[in-house]
């Protein structure tokens, strides 16, 4: 009696299991974590599941610092996710290693609808290997209270004005800094923004350095000068984010997403946001764009479904919600002047506008090149090398990174 009952249960379970195996499809989705993003993806997953019966999104959110540490062994073992995030500069290499595959989407339409700066690394011969997400440009955050206090009415729009304003704000007595004027924190995307504004190019497709010219050098020297010549930034002053929060820093070049971070802890901080200052009056206010891409694993069972999920996540409606909740910029051109976004957060005007003139991060190997430029600046400000020596070192380091990381030469 008992046995038959058990058997019946077993049969029932088996039938259910096999039945669901026929209809059920699962997409395993991995991406790096923040509390707001986590909630957003959960929300989109439920929505996508409702639209596509039988589909389950299995979502795993991984701290950014450990994201690649978890992703790489999984890819190596073949247990990786179906859909995941990569830094856009990584896409060409992963494509070459045949870890990811071309998406099954309308490529021509995607070329029109996404902001050009966001897909530089994602497209090859008109084919998308990933769709852009988590877009960041560089914008100028300034403290409106400090501006008002010092009678500064114009937000600086050229390098010259930028330094003038910074010198006005900086408060230095007997060589001790009490308030910084302006800060870049030797952060790669900011320094490359300055270099890009001079009109230099960076590297050609064969890894040849193109910025070893007076323009490139001028951009680099300008970054060094904030610290070494004008003294408006002081690396000994501590974290620039803390300084900006405590109103001990007037202006900082930063990713727009910092807005959300400031608002979280200091809701009453008097923040203004403008596009970065141009090299000279009339020149474009170019900044460097960094972003991630959603890609489909080469091993995914259903490329069509994976592509649809990626398109769903990067649709205009999804990106609008995403920007509001996470502070990360959209990659769709249609949202640049989106009234709903601007109504929700008027300060988004400058970040959204910056999308149009932004250029992609100039190198594939982002973390290596962020370190290289930081070292180059430290060589001047800490080790006391001349700008020429440090710049020369940086040129060679760029070539070395390309040889070792991109070409994987032995």
């Amino acid at each position: 009696m008992k046995l038959t009952k058990h058997c019946l249960w077993l049969v029932l379970v088996l039938v259910l299991a096999s039945g669901s195996a026929v209809f059920a499809q699962t997409i395993v989705h991995w991406q790096h974590h923040s509390p707001a993003r986590n909630e957003m993806i959960e929300f989109f997953a439920r929505e996508f599941e409702a639209q596509n019966p039988g589909v389950t999104i299995e979502f795993e959110s991984i701290p950014l610092a450990d994201y690649y540490t978890k992703l790489l062994p999984a890819l190596a073992a073949g247990s990786g996710p179906d859909v995941f995030q990569l830094r856009s500069g990584d896409v060409p290499r992963y494509k070459e290693y045949e870890v990811i595959q071309a998406l099954n989407i309308d490529h021509a339409r995607a070329l029109e609808e996404f902001v050009p700066g966001s897909y530089g690394f994602l497209v090859e011969d008109g084919t998308f290997y990933g769709l852009p997400t988590d877009v960041q440009t560089i914008v100028l955050f300034y403290n409106t209270e400090i501006f008002a206090e010092l009678g500064i009415t114009e937000v600086p729009s050229t390098w010259e004005e930028l330094i003038e304003t910074a010198l006005l704000i900086a408060d230095i007595e007997d060589g001790v800094m009490y308030r910084m004027g302006l800060a870049h924190g030797s952060y790669g995307p900011v320094i490359y923004t300055l270099m890009a504004q001079t009109g230099t190019e960076f590297q050609d497709e064969d890894g040849k350095v193109l910025f070893d010219n007076p323009q490139g050098r001028e951009g680099f020297e300008f970054a060094v000068d904030w610290i070494a010549k004008y003294g408006v930034e002081d690396p000994d002053f501590g974290s620039r984010w803390t300084a900006f929060r405590e109103q001990e820093l007037g202006m900082v070049y930063a990713h727009p997403a910092m807005l959300g971070s400031f608002r979280n802890t200091h809701p009453d901080l008097p923040i203004g946001i403008a596009e970065v200052a141009a090299y000279k009056a009339g020149e474009p206010r170019t900044s460097v764009m960094t972003n991630w891409a959603y890609v489909a694993s080469a091993g995914t069972d259903d490329l069509d479904l994976a592509s649809r999920w990626i398109e769903f996540l990067t649709s205009a409606e999804a990106q609008r919600k995403w920007t509001i909740e996470t502070g990360e910029l959209p990659s769709r051109a249609a949202l640049i002047n989106d009234p709903e976004l601007l109504e929700y957060e008027p300060l988004l005007a400058a970040p959204l506008a910056s999308l149009e003139s932004a250029v992609p991060y100039p190198f594939e190997a982002l973390s290596q090149m962020d370190k290289a430029i930081r070292d180059a600046i430290n060589r001047v400000t800490i080790a006391g090398e001349s700008v020429d020596e440090a710049f020369e070192w940086f040129v060679q380091e760029t070539e070395k990174v390309y040889r070792e990381v991109i070409l994987d030469e032995l």
Binding site: Y68, Y97, V99, D236, G238, Q368, D375, E404, D408, L410
Partner: protein, 294 residues
């Protein structure tokens, strides 16, 4: 007959589970790891080529590898004596029938349970240029404050101090356990002979602590040569590579640069160095008073 058989077979039975469970999860990965050093494997693809000794040839001209090796040695040379001396001293102090031994032992153990990410935040504040405690003290002493973690001259030393803080508690507990295990009869005998404190320490305590000291030195050395977490969290190997240790370099090479084959070659070199140092320790410190099987 049974007795002799039992005695022959017993050691294998004793070591079998421990050795098996350990080697089961370490031996094959370690062997594969060594094998990888002869390939150009990039981690994310199943494909790779055998490249013979080319990774090792590259090491000879890799300046960052040499820098990281010298950083690691300097870190270890300061850390190891610091940890051994401090933990032994603390254990001796705690063993002198003071009150509150339970309390102190718990307090000294806390660095080991505090998550390293949290501990790092606090140490970064201690070393902060403007408001850190360290610069406060330095100013009181009439010396100029420094940016401890952002200066190539002081960054590694700052991490050594934190490293000692991290591991002194656990080693002190090991020493304490060893001190508790020394039979009181030895000291009683020494008392009868009229030996003073120093003589008792020199001729009874220290020799009997020898196996423990060997253990502490070897494990601390291994830990120092593999230092990674603080460098990863607090300095990212900087400024100007002054805190890039060998494991930090291995980690970056494997997981950021995707050059697993090369990272494996660096690992093999570190492995060889560790093995040699451990062997030397063993030869010099492993002898003396201990009751090995006869």
């Amino acid at each position: 007959m049974w007795y002799r058989f039992q005695r022959k077979i017993a050691p294998y039975v004793f070591i079998l589970p421990g050795v098996l469970f350990y080697l089961m999860v370490t031996f094959i990965p370690a062997a594969i790891g060594i094998g990888l050093s002869f390939t150009n494997w990039s981690i994310i693809t199943p494909k790779f080529d055998w490249v013979g000794l080319r990774n090792y040839e590259r090491l000879l001209t890799d300046t960052l590898f040499q820098t990281s090796l010298s950083n690691t040695f300097r870190y270890a040379l300061w850390l190891i004596p610091g940890v051994v001396i401090c933990s032994l001293l603390l254990a001796l102090l705690l063993n002198t029938k003071v009150r509150g031994i339970t309390f102190f032992r718990t307090v000294y153990y806390l660095p080991m349970v505090t998550p390293i990410a949290v501990a790092s935040v606090i140490w970064m504040w201690i070393y902060d240029r403007r408001t850190g405690i360290l610069n406060y003290i330095v100013r009181l002493l009439g010396m100029p404050p420094r940016n401890w973690l952002n200066n190539p001259d002081t960054a590694l030393g700052s991490l050594v101090v934190m490293g000692i803080w991290l591991s002194v508690g656990s080693n002190m507990i090991i020493y304490l356990a060893a001190l508790q295990g020394i039979s009181r009869s030895y000291y009683e005998a020494a008392d009868i002979d009229g030996a003073g404190y120093w003589q008792r320490f020199r001729y009874i305590t220290l020799p009997l602590l020898r196996p423990t000291t060997l253990f502490v030195i070897i494990t601390t050395t291994m830990g120092a040569l593999r230092a990674f977490s603080q460098m990863n969290i607090m300095t990212q190997g900087g400024p100007l590579d002054s805190t890039t240790t060998i494991v930090f370099y291995i980690f970056k090479t494997a997981f950021t640069d995707l050059r697993m084959g090369y990272a494996a070659a660096v690992s093999v070199v570190l492995f060889a160095i560790t093995l040699v140092i451990t062997f030397v320790d063993w030869k010099f410190l492993g002898k003396g008073v201990s009751y090995d099987a006869d």
